[in-house]
């Protein structure tokens, strides 16, 4: 797998560190225990398309959101995590 970092271009998977599912959102501080339990522990774990956080730890240190297929490992899009979703997407190598 190679990931197309929006800042550095296409780089080998070895430069990146995996964080996990990017779809989970931290609940507000006054949310109940169940909401925090789901945030910390429960994962959809899809067989197919997933959006996930990768850190370019061996490069520019940017946090990225990578859309990828967990069965084929094809990468559909890469964007900086700081950008709102839907904007600034770039294609990535599979």
């Amino acid at each position: 797998m190679r990931i197309n970092c929006p800042y550095c271009g296409e780089r080998s998977i070895e430069e990146f560190t995996y964080r996990g599912d990017a779809s989970v959102q931290r609940p507000s501080g006054d949310a109940d225990l169940e909401a925090f339990f789901r945030y910390v522990y429960v994962r959809a774990n899809p067989k197919g398309r997933i959006a996930e956080h990768w850190h370019h730890s061996g490069g520019c240190h940017a946090w990225l959101v990578v859309e990828r297929d967990t069965l084929s490992h094809e990468i559909f899009s890469v964007r900086a995590a700081r950008e709102p979703s839907g904007g600034g997407e770039r294609g990535g190598g599979a």
Binding site: I13, G20, E34, V40, Y41, N45, L71
Partner: protein, 416 residues
Amino acid sequence: MKYSVFSLVRQAMKGHADWPRVWRMAKPRPAYDIVIVGGGGHGLATAYYLAKVHGLKRIAVLEKSWLGSGNIGRNTTIVRANYLLEGNEPFYEFSLKLWEGLSQELDYNVMFSPRGVINLYHSDAQRDTFVRRGNAMLLHGSDAVLLDPDGVRHYAPMIDMENGRFPVHGGLLQPRAGTARHDAVAWGFARGADSLGVDLIQNCEVTGLSIRNGRVEGLETSLGHIGAEKVGLAVAGNTSDLARMADLDLPIESHVLQAFVTEGLKPFLDTVVTYGMGHFYISQSDKGGLVFGGDLDGYNSYARRGNLPLVEHVAEIGASMIPRLKRLRILRSWGGIMDMSMDGSPIIDTTRIGGLYLNTGWCYGGFKATPASGWCFAHLIANDTSHDVARGLRLDRFLSGHLIDEAGHGAQPNLH
């Protein structure tokens, strides 16, 4: 048919042309009392113990491919009970005791070889944590021996003790641990279950679960509807996919783990050794190949193949521990999909759906757990209560905070 020296001689006289099938090729009946999904080690062991220990009938095992085609057929065959925590060690010690009598129990040679497992340590601090873990093992009635450098040299003289960066200070040995023939474990449990009347149905993929009023009624499969009063899921990396059919969200991620085997060698390593400064474990199979593995590839995956950077990483660690590995060629590598739980420990529990039982979260420790997992899952399905040694392996521990986090990595499954 009982396997014995007499049956061997009898068949030899007939030119080995008259051996009966090891199990029937069962066709599904319209309904069963209990259906186990997943014809791997854990599923087959569960079916076997349901029939043998609990005397239950009308049991089926559904397997989407062939029996033993999942992780039971793609692992590094290590059997050990060297855990620290209360929720784990009694369970794995129970499993090790079952391993010790498994060939006799099944009348099938699973080639359990208690050749010892040594965890190397490389610093005073690491020795202290290993002493603590060894003492915990002893207190739980298991066995553990602390080795000094000469002790390690005695068991595994090929290890680079004077490694410039990570010199070996000693090791924690569990003498009763070892390896087993992984396929034979699946085949032995399959044969045992079949002879007790369990239907083993291969090439039968589950596509849906029929649930009415919060209770399971049966399964939709590629071979049609099959009624079931109780359904047990033992499907490793596919757990989330099946649980979705019952609207269950689980603390599980699926990750790929690779393993490797080299070309065959003369006897070289007669124990199992794990590195303390990198994730690497190695043993020698009876065919002579060195079997070893390392870390997960590190990202969610349902693909049964791994990436090349990890191959290089594992090979580097191996060569750092045993420099003469550099001269060897890797013959084969393979990947299996692990059901990684959020604390690195398994789950054997009921669910909020009546009659639906869950066996998952084995991370990459599923093989050694096979007999105990089957025993405890059968106990749960038969009695609706957890077995004593599996009492901590509950699904609700993530909500209640009673985690069993052996490595202390937190809710980051790719690090367990």
